[in-house]
Amino acid sequence: MIEVRDLHKTLGTEQVLRGVDLRIATGETCVIMGRSGCGKSVLLKHLIGLMQPTRGEVLVEGENIAGLPERKLGEVRKKIGMLFQSGALFDSMNVEENIGFPLKEAGVRDKKEIADRVAEALEMVDLAGEQEKMPENLSGGMRKRVGLARTIVGRPACILYDEPTTGLDPIASDSINHLIRRLQKRLRVTSVVVTHDMKTAYHTADRIAYLHEGRIYFHGLPQEMHESPDPVVRDFIEGRSGDSD
């Protein structure tokens, strides 16, 4: 479904990605892990064309989207949905208008169809009946759920999650993890999850890619990562900084 070849990205003077190679099969859930600031979100944004690489290729269903003009990316983006770290809800619209937005943009004009599909998406994220609320009246977890409902309402073939549990309490995080897994089973979508939360990774991943120093340092099954003897991987799993008091 998605393949990244020799991806380089320089932001200012900093080389964030230094030759990332990654292949994500259709229907697979790939979790991209790494330390804060290692370029996980930058890599994720390349998969939907929100960022353009300095060098390299991003293939979505065989089509290289690197360097495509913004207007042509619109078609690719209809196949891929993205959940942003903050939810990125449109704050001038209520929940129903936010979730119905992609449908209206896709040309759906039937108000009943939009209302039904919004209700269905809200039911999938356990927020049934919350259509009238404004984003400012939602908690962090609810915003992410509404953001997820907006992402899935257009029935994309692939969903990208940018730090889906960051900033949430452990119970809300667990609930989001279960939600991601449930959506994978129900919608059978390809998923790419960026996180540094080990619990999210083990709960949702079919395969884990560990990003280190701008490259994919490890790519394998969750069990393989868990049992890896590699000191870099072990330090990350066990949360060892190497500093002493």
Partner: protein, 260 residues
């Protein structure tokens, strides 16, 4: 010192280049993408309809004070009857468009920059892009078009109120007859003055729209950036209006020479 001047010149050229690219993208979007009529109408209400009070008050009081001041000066020379003509031509050709432009840049330019800037730093613009919506089509085109439609009308309204107010003040001064005041005003004001006012209004609308949208789309650094964007939008668009007005006046005077 030379390196500082060079750096400033380069950043100014870079800024003009970015504005030119935004202009080109927006003009292209107006022709290749469908116009979002509902958004456009909402912006016309927000930009045009809701700016009327501030523009009307500015025009009315400027016209009134100009009539009074012109009368005080001209009365000493025995040219009382020229008050109406001076106010009318000044308001149409210079003060009406410029003051309306400055008021709209303060009210509307700041709001556009703050709104788009907030959307930028809260990832709402990235969300639009991720949903396959081109931000230029959705955010810039309706605002720029609404400004292009509203500004000439606001300039007309501002000048009309200025003339009414100046008529009220001018004809209540000793030694000025209403009939003669009106005759002189009409005699010295022609269609070229009206065309000049509306042309300037349209041109300033383009300046305000692109400068404000550009500031919004380039907002960085969270809340600090959102605070800075409207201020910079107002300062840059006000300066652009004042400076461009000088050159525009010369150019338009060649095309539409004034006087009888």
């Amino acid at each position: 010192m030379f390196s500082t001047i060079g750096r400033l010149a380069l950043s100014f050229i870079h800024y003009l280049g970015e504005l030119a690219l935004l202009f080109a993208e927006t003009v292209k979007a107006m022709f290749v993408a469908p116009i979002r009529w509902r958004l456009l109408l909402r912006q016309v209400v927000e930009i045009g309809f809701r700016s009327q009070l501030v523009v009307a008050v500015t025009g009315g009081f400027t016209g009134a004070v100009m009539a009074a001041q012109t009368y005080f000066q001209f009365h000493r020379l025995g040219m009382d009857s020229a008050v109406g003509a001076v106010v009318s031509v000044s308001m149409f050709r210079e003060l009406g468009p410029v003051l309306t432009g400055l008021m709209v840049s303060g009210r509307v330019g700041a709001a556009i920059a703050a709104e788009i800037g907030t959307m930028k730093v809260t990832e709402q613009i990235d969300a639009l892009r991720a949903l396959g919506v081109y931000p230029i089509d959705y955010l810039v085109v309706p605002r720029v078009l609404a400004l292009m439609i509203s500004m000439p009308l606001l300039v007309g309204e501002s000048v009309a109120l200025a003339l009414l107010a100046s008529h009220f003040v001018g004809t209540n001064m000793p030694g000025v007859s209403a009939a003669y005041y009106q005759h002189q005003t009409v005699l010295y004001t022609d269609s070229s003055d009206i065309i000049m006012a509306l042309t300037k209004g349209f041109f300033f609308a383009v300046l305000i729209g692109f400068i404000a949208c550009h500031q919004g789309l380039n907002t960085k650094n969270g809340a600090v950036g959102v605070g800075r964007a409207p201020t910079e939008a107002v300062v840059i668009s006000s300066l652009a209006i004042l400076i461009s007005n000088f050159f525009l006046s010369f150019a338009l005077n060649m095309i539409f020479p004034g006087g009888v």
